[in-house]
Symmetry: C2
Subunit: 128 residues, 2 copies
């Protein structure tokens, strides 16, 4: 059976939530979205392809920065509207800010504190 049949793309208007975890550490790297086409491309290529809502197109993660994500495993939730991708994060950073994870701010006594690990300088990678 086509594995896409278990995914409920309709509920979210054609997309599902996709959570990428670092396969080595289990850390949550980022959250984005996938549509059916991006899920198929991900299966075909073994590298994560999201659907960019802001750009309204397929987004091969790392296409600009080189920080692609190689798929190690894929899990789906009970109601089929979210997937967890365990990945090898090339370059060691998932975030456009150059941090390892997009979730670099933590709430400490009512304030967001930056606890992120800076891996690259975004100006060097994306230009200023």
């Amino acid at each position: 059976m086509d594995p896409l049949n278990a995914i409920d793309f309709e509920k979210g208007g054609g997309i599902v939530t996709a959570i990428a975890l670092d396969d080595a550490t289990g850390e949550v790297l980022m959250v984005a979205f996938m549509n059916a086409e991006s899920f198929r491309k991900t299966l075909e290529t073994g590298e994560v392809v999201y659907w960019s809502r802001s750009r309204n197109r397929l987004w091969h993660k790392g296409e600009q920065s080189g920080n692609t994500q190689r798929v190690k495993s894929i899990q789906i939730d009970c109601d089929g509207d979210a997937v967890v991708l365990r990945v090898d994060q090339r370059g060691g950073a998932a975030c456009h800010t150059g941090k390892r994870s997009c979730f670099f701010r933590k709430l400490e006594e009512g304030q967001w504190v930056d606890e992120g690990v800076q891996v690259f300088d975004p100006k060097e990678v994306y230009g200023s």
Copy 2:
């Protein structure tokens, strides 16, 4: 400063994605949504309150099953439209199916395989 100011509720029409991790193991337990009111309630009570899209109301996780989630930490992503909650999962199961995690199906050679840990019988908890 109000920590809610860093959260971009507008982009998602009043809600953000909320990912709950088991604080002890780092396992992804579930994915749901929060609006501003549910985030405030979560901060006030120390127990996770989501926004239920299907029921269109606040959802104090575990209100029926007793399997509440005590907040251990909260992280926010770079663009402020997703949060990661590390929680103590009361009862050891987050999923309405009685599994420990909602992400109990894994893709193995093109098929979804149930690898979940059954913690409770949903018929006993929710009725038939």
